[in-house]
């Protein structure tokens, strides 16, 4: 396939947390608001005068200082974020909106106010206690948490307009972005898609880390380009897989899988688009805020949810993705030391393979892409097993 016009530009945007679009927006006087987790509605951080940027620590090669603070036995993602903060890599942020999604993440967010490494005027950290079930009791709790820990400081410190009208405008902008990403992502359903999993991963991550209004024109142009892009004469991969699990913000991980012969056709992991790029619908008589909370609680597929309804949802959702994207198998990954995905990976891969007949490969990974040789061997073996299965069928 012909290279995408903006791919190198997008790749360059992912080389630094403070990329050129982030810098531009900050220079224009907008507040850059960092967040780590889907529990923090991205749309709320994009009210007028603010923009969201999901925290990454690209090109992080050492977490020595963060390891001193949090030991080497905690999630490498959160240590990398802390390390980058201590290095001064997030000084453009006006605030970090955290979530007690897991203990490691919450501890890292605490360090951001205990050590105060982010040097920005009036910088603050706020942490929500996110819901663990999908019912009304938890929806109400979620709303109360977001009001107190997100909207209130945005209003008070950042002077953001948090009115219903402002939220509706934010939803409108957000939906426009989601529409573009979703349309691009849908091409992966085709038998011979005009886009690779790696390219989509790059596009999805730039949409999360860059100011929406600055990245959107490039994404729209890319969508138009893909519509007329000539795919390879025949499907160039040996298998199609869904990648599911914990945090993956490095498209090179997707590239690694694809160089082993399996196209990543669906991205159901933290930082992925499934979920995160579903449009928010406001029901009749519903406030914009209520719609946002309902939307995020419904779509959230975090392994942290304990109730049967949400557990079943995350399994059925994965089955749906495997079916709709015609996947031959599922690769479950978890960040090393991630308790939730360590458990979910084991249980879900059993359910998917033993009860639903979908082959699964489960791996554990570091944040910075290391041990590539070992992973490559695992992926190659998995791809071979998928091929053999096809032959036997």
């Amino acid at each position: 396939m012909k290279d995408l016009k903006h791919l190198i530009f997008f790749e360059n945007l992912l080389q630094d947390a403070q990329n050129e679009l982030v810098t531009k927006a900050v220079e224009e006087g907008k507040h850059a608001l960092g967040y780590n987790c889907y529990y923090l509605p991205e749309v709320l951080l994009n009210l007028d005068g603010c923009f969201s940027t999901r925290l990454r620590a690209p090109r992080c090669t050492s977490t020595d200082v963060a390891t001193y603070y949090m030991t080497g036995r905690t999630c490498p993602y959160v240590r990398s974020i802390l390390e980058r903060a201590i290095e001064g890599g997030y000084n453009y942020l006006s605030a970090v909106f955290g979530s007690e999604s897991c203990a490691a993440m919450e501890r890292m967010e605490e360090h951001l106010y205990l050590l105060n490494p982010i040097k920005h005027e009036n910088f603050f950290v706020t942490i929500i206690d996110p819901p663990m079930r999908g019912d009304k009791t938890h929806l109400d709790y979620y709303k109360a948490q977001l009001r107190k820990h997100v909207l209130a400081p945005m209003e008070k410190v950042l002077k953001a307009d948090t009115s219903d009208e402002a939220m509706r405008r934010a939803i409108e902008r957000f939906n426009e972005l989601c529409e573009v990403i979703t349309q691009i992502g849908e091409f992966r359903k085709l038998d011979n898609p005009p886009i690779t999993g790696y390219e989509f991963h790059v596009i999805q991550v730039v949409s999360e880390v860059c100011p929406h209004e600055l990245i959107l024109p490039y994404l729209k142009e890319t969508l138009e380009e893909i519509k007329t892009r000539e795919p390879e004469p025949s499907f160039p991969f040996r298998a199609r897989v869904v990648l599911a699990g914990s945090e993956v913000d490095d498209p090179d991980f997707t590239k690694l899988i694809e160089t082993c012969g399996a196209m990543v056709v669906a991205d159901r992991y933290c930082f992925g688009s499934l979920p995160s790029r579903e449009k928010i619908e406001i029901l009749d008589g519903e406030s914009a805020f209520d719609a946002i909370c309902r939307h995020y609680l419904h779509w959230n597929q975090c392994a942290r949810f304990m109730d049967g309804m949400k557990i079943d949802q995350r399994h059925s959702e994965l089955l749906r993705l495997a079916r709709e994207y015609k996947a031959d198998g599922i690769i479950y990954e978890n960040m090393k030391f991630c308790e939730f995905w360590s458990y979910e990976k084991v249980l879900a891969s059993h359910i998917m393979s033993a009860e639903n007949g979908i082959p699964c490969c489960t791996i554990e990974k570091e944040y910075a892409l290391g041990s590539v040789g070992q992973l490559r061997t695992r992926f190659q073996a998995f791809v071979e097993s998928l091929e053999i299965k096809k032959i036997n069928e």
Binding site: Y68, Y69, M70, T71, R73, T74, C75, V78, E100, C102, A103, A104, E106, R107, M108, E110, H111, L114, I127, D129, P131, M132, R133, T137, H138, D140, Y141, A144, Q145, K148, A303, R304, M306, D307, G308, I311, N334, K336, F337, E339, F340, S342, Y343, E344, K345, V346, L347, S349, H350, T362, E364
Partner: protein
């Protein structure tokens, strides 16, 4: 009589390990076979204390006999069905080890409290096994029992006097791992052979293994799980609910629970829903009168606890070390107002403690050199660690993190106020109140240590506890800034293969000898092999 006893004590003092350690003729470890930890003979503590200790030992044996007598067939089937049942045979060796070096008043307090635990636990084992469908109990008989997560305090269940709450993990995991360091690695291996990574909390891995091994008693008609204390515990609930296969309710209390404005209304609602779930599943109504009766017991216990703390702050107390820790843990977490016998024991113990304070009694012959607060989740495969640090280095564990669990009073008249109090109490459960839920909770240790006049903080460093690992250096820096002696004690909670008991001892040994330049009270306790012991 007193003279005769004094004469015998003087003649036989050479058998007393404390005397032997003081006089360079051996010590506590001399009476054990190496590696297996089997004692060659019982500890000689002087005539009175030895007789009292032995009588207490017999009293515990009697409780065990009663347990077998209460349901002989079920108990025998239980031994056949469940690997963990065999470990309970180590209870007596376990108790002996816990109270090594205990004399006089502290020995009497320790045994009074330990017998309450043995009495309650043996009764519970007999009852649960006799209602276990896996062992042949009928569905109807079994359905009076309500299996629930062990970390969810049971007080709310006292409002259902016709039902019997079963902290599901207690028998196969939560308590037995205290007794036998070799039982949980088996279940951990079961979980890991299913694919669970080895870096998750070993307690939760063990619970997962128990679930996969079908080693939970099969009782009740609906299950209550909880998000307490931590991430791994939440995650293992997925396995348990699936394997147990009963309708379930997840009592997900606020994780960041100190915020009354948001957390309390939420946790209150969760408690209401939990009660409604039991009502619906078991077809019974919540009985407020029964609840208030139990709440009064909890209030009495909490009042006693606050009074005890005042004595503990002075050092003139006979309740110290592991006896305090275990009793509080069991009384609060596993009984939680349900058994009046514990109040009876508390009243007796309080009388003794008041007298000890009046006469300025110092435990362990006044040999305490350091007063330490034990913080973080403790290694359950080394329950007698507080006893060891006292006997080896003269470090008294004044209070344990888990002893700071919810101690608020419960309203005993107004259901609305009572449910708020219940929510506050419930969300401050074991390993949970201080270990997770925000920096302020873990950072509270310094104030506790200061208030209890401690010069030292021993930080249990569970190598897989993500909540505590995340504040490692900050805690160390705080200790330095505030002038506390501070030791990280690495352990793997329920897996003694990863960090052995000797590895744990070495953490203390090195600090005490290298940093503080102190000599041990009992050199036989410095280095020994107890790797095959219970």
């Amino acid at each position: 009589m007193g003279k005769l006893i004094g004469f015998i004590d003087d003649k036989l003092k050479r058998f007393d390990p404390v005397w032997r350690a003081e006089n360079g003729k051996g010590g506590q470890r001399s009476r054990y076979h190496d590696v297996t930890g089997v004692a060659k003979y019982r500890e000689w503590r002087g005539v009175k204390d030895t007789m009292f200790d032995y009588a207490s030992w017999l009293n515990n044996v009697l409780a065990m006999v009663k347990m077998v007598g209460s349901a002989p067939v079920s108990i025998m089937k239980g031994f056949w069905e469940y690997r963990w049942m065999g470990s309970y045979l180590g209870t007596f060796m376990f108790i002996d080890r816990l109270f090594e070096g205990y004399r006089g008043e502290e020995l009497r307090v320790a045994h009074a409290q330990m017998h309450a635990i043995v009495r309650s636990l043996t009764g519970r084992i007999g009852y649960i096994l006799s209602h276990d469908r896996r062992l042949g109990a009928s569905q109807a008989k079994s359905e009076k029992l309500v299996p629930m997560d062990e970390v969810l305090p049971e007080l709310f269940m006292t409002g259902f006097p016709g039902l019997y709450p079963v902290p599901l993990q207690t028998l196969p995991e939560f308590i037995i791992c205290d007794v036998d360091q070799h039982i949980e690695p088996y279940y951990i291996d079961v979980a890991e052979s299913f694919g669970l990574p080895a870096d998750v909390c070993s307690r939760c891995a063990a619970e997962t293994g128990v679930a996969l091994d079908d080693a939970f008693p099969l009782v009740g008609k609906a299950l209550i799980t909880t998000n307490m204390p931590c991430n791994a515990s939440e995650a293992t609930s997925m396995f348990q609910r699936r394997r147990v296969g009963l309708p379930d309710y997840q009592a997900t209390l606020a994780m960041i629970h100190n915020d009354d404005e948001l957390a309390l209304p939420f946790s209150r609602q969760i408690m209401k829903e939990t009660i409604a779930f039991v009502e619906e599943q078991y077809g019974v109504k919540f009985n407020w009168d029964a609840f208030f009766k139990a709440a009064r017991r909890i209030n009495e216990q909490n009042n006693f606890e606050l009074e005890k703390w005042d004595y503990m702050k002075t050092g003139y107390t006979a309740e110290v070390g592991v006896s305090e820790t275990l009793y509080k843990l069991y009384e609060w977490q596993s009984v939680n107002g349900a058994d009046p016998y514990f109040n009876k024991v508390d009243r007796k113990v309080m009388k003794r403690l008041r007298k000890c304070y009046e006469k300025k009694y110092q435990p362990f012959g006044g040999k305490t050199r350091h007063r330490a607060f034990l913080w973080g989740p403790s290694a359950v495969y080394y329950t007698d660690f507080p006893t060891w640090v006292q006997n080896c280095w003269g470090i008294a564990i004044v209070l344990n993190m888990d002893s700071t669990m919810g101690f608020n009073m419960i309203d005993t008249e107004d259901p609305d106020k009572a449910i708020d109090d219940l929510a506050r109490l419930t969300q401050k459960a074991t390993m949970r109140h201080m270990a997770v839920g925000g920096w302020d909770n873990v950072n509270a240790v310094w104030e506790w240590a200061h208030n209890f006049n401690c010069d030292m903080v021993l930080m249990n460093d569970n190598i897989a506890c993500k909540g505590m690992l995340g504040v490692h250096a900050i805690m160390e820096e705080q200790a330095r800034d505030l002038g506390f002696r501070f030791i990280f004690i690495e352990h793997d909670l329920e897996d003694s293969r990863t960090v052995s008991r000797q590895n744990m001892r070495d953490c203390v040994n090195q600090y005490m000898s290298i940093v503080l330049n102190e000599e041990p009270l009992d050199p036989t306790l410095l280095n020994f092999d107890d790797s095959d012991a219970y």
